[in-house]
Amino acid sequence: MKQFVPVSAVLALALAAGTAAADEAQIAVAANFTAPMKTIIQMFEEDTEHTVKASYGSTGKLYAQIENGAPFEALLAADQKRPELLEKEGVAVPGTRFTYAVGTLVLWSAEPDVVEDGEALLKSGDFNKLAIANPKLAPYGEAAMQTMDALGVKAALEPKLVRGENIAQTYQFVDTGNAEVGFVALSQVMQDGQITKGSGWIVPGDLHEPIRQDAVILDKGKDSAAVTALFAYLKGEKAQAVIHDFGYETE
């Protein structure tokens, strides 16, 4: 008991000091945004008193976890649908939802010189497999389907489609050469504004709906200073520069 008292006193002091200034945000982040988010969190923790604990996963899984009481205070989703749903269900704080990044779709091959004129390549169907993210689950997959639809090649390419459960797995299919080409996220193949490996064709934005990724503050985070600060930070210039570097656009 004698040892316990000082420890708990220190703990209480630490907690009191903690709530006064620094705070910890516990957030859920869509897997495709893992790399930029890690950089942003590092900068955010240097620039502010706060700390961030992030869990990365597919938006569908994170959504199910939030519905079932996961302790997340904010969600950075891969789409708009799930944050909207959470808002409607009263799990998210109204008015906090915003588009933090807009994804860019690219037709990509791990081999150089394979993808030059992407449109002509899709029309010729001159490849063994075309990998896409599952359109039912992933916004990038949905955009890929819209693109093929717009080019009038959807039916012809259907037998060549292989579906990754998410955009990371789709990238793996193409990167290992098992699928010669695939629709992946520009953020996966770009570094400092350049496609670093293989060959790619950036799909013109008018061929599909924009891939808007929304963030929203959840009920559990409505009084968190760290979450509020993080959301402000995401809209700031420093974070936006990181987001652009990773091949996303912002609004």
């Binding site: 899984k61 689950l137 579906r163 290992t176 050469g177």
Partner: protein, 225 residues
């Protein structure tokens, strides 16, 4: 609430995959189990460990290795392409290869245990009666270790039905070719179609329970002797 056509397609495919995998593993696993149960070689330890690896490796790791090895830049991919078979990922037989590796310990270990439980004496007795090694294996070892084979067969089948990670990694989710029941359920959950997910999951749950019930109710009678 009837299951949809795609659900039935996924279930049929799952059962096909489990059946083919189990049959192949009877052929592949039995000699391995026999060797492991009889050998005094210093390779027994390492080979036993390799056989058990799928028990501890995350399926995502196994699946990723398979994707790389079976792919066009991997050794197996090079071999299958040279032989004119083409590439295995995204095909039914690719899933079979993955499942055989993934379920290997579930076949080998029960059979090995059964072989070891026979001991040397029945085989030596048969040998003194001039039974050839092959004869001894088929007329003495096999019948005596039948319970082990039943256990191994059921476990392998059930484990393949429940397989998910490996299929996800090398399957490519093609309806009727590589979209098995567990992947279908995952899709439903991810797409927030919880009703459909529950329905198919219930089928799988009941099926798995019945299979294991059969296993556990069957075993005592034969082990009691």
């Amino acid at each position: 609430m009837p299951l949809s056509e795609t659900d039935l397609e996924a279930i049929v495919l799952t059962l096909e995959l489990a059946t083919v995998t189990t049959l192949i593993l009877f052929l592949v696993g039995t000699p391995i189990a026999w060797w492991l149960s009889r050998t005094r070689s210093r390779w027994k330890g390492p080979i036993g460990a390799v056989v058990a690896l799928p028990l501890v490796l995350p399926p995502s790791v196994l699946g990723f290795y398979l994707l790389v090895t079976l792919g066009p830049n991997g050794p197996v991919g090079w071999l299958t392409q040279t032989l004119g078979i083409g590439l295995l990922p995204f095909t039914f037989w690719g899933l079979v290869v993955g499942s055989v590796l993934y379920s290997l310990p579930f076949m080998v270990q029960p059979v090995q245990n059964a072989f070891e439980a026979i001991g040397e004496r029945p085989l030596e007795a048969a040998a003194t009666l001039r039974a050839s090694p092959l004869d001894r294996f088929f007329t003495v070892a096999l019948p005596l270790s039948l319970p082990g084979f039943v256990t191994a067969g059921i476990l392998t089948f059930a484990h393949t039905v429940g397989e998910f990670g490996v299929v996800l990694m090398i399957g490519g989710n093609i309806p009727g070719v590589t979209r098995v029941a567990s992947v279908q359920i995952y899709d439903y959950v991810e797409a927030l179609e919880y009703g459909e997910a529950h329905r198919l999951a219930a089928v799988l749950l009941v099926f798995s329970f019945l299979v294991l019930l059969a296993l556990y109710s069957w075993r005592p009678d034969h082990t009691r002797k």
